[in-house]
């Protein structure tokens, strides 16, 4: 169907945009939280370790929040507690 295809293509564009958004937010967050020592030019091993853990944790947290979000959203729709704009 024409409409379905158009919507699909818009959603794909949005997905790409969202992906870039997650990437830049993650860089910002892990940089801010992990990199505070500017006595050297390249990342220290402990900073690198921190960044890896920061990214891991962020993804795990996001996954968990996504599950909760879906549950809560479904629950809200079921109860007819529509938010403004719906």
């Amino acid at each position: 169907m024409q409409e379905q295809r158009e919507l699909q293509s818009r959603l794909e564009k949005k997905q790409m945009k969202d992906f870039m958004g997650v990437y830049s937010r993650l860089v910002q967050r892990c940089f801010d939280d992990c990199v505070n020592d500017f006595t050297s030019k390249s990342l220290l091993p402990k900073e690198e370790g921190c960044i890896m853990r920061c990214v891991d944790k962020y993804f795990k947290g996001t996954e968990r929040l996504q599950t909760r979000f879906q549950e809560l959203n479904a629950q809200m729709v079921q109860q007819g507690n529509a938010l403004p704009g719906r």
């Binding site: 158009e6 919507l7 921190c50 962020y58 968990r64 929040l65 909760r68 938010l83 719906r86």
Partner: protein, 97 residues
Amino acid sequence: MSFLFGQRPQPSSAEKIAAAEAEVEMVSDMFNRLSDSCHRKCVPADYREGELNKGESVCLDRCASKFFDVNIKVSEKMQSQAAAGGGAGGMGAMGGI
């Protein structure tokens, strides 16, 4: 999202697409805001391990639930304000669909 395409006085294709897109946009925006707030509030900035610990996990669960509660409370409050004819910050701010 099947309800979006259900029986209604036949909106045009462009309208249907715009409505579906707005719906997705709104939900994903809400999720992003929830995610940012809850990460900030629940996950401390010292990354001693890459796993979420028990406390952080429970905090995220409760944070998500409370975020929804706040959404509902604010929405109810704004609706009653608008109904009371308060005007300011009422329907105007809701960009109603």
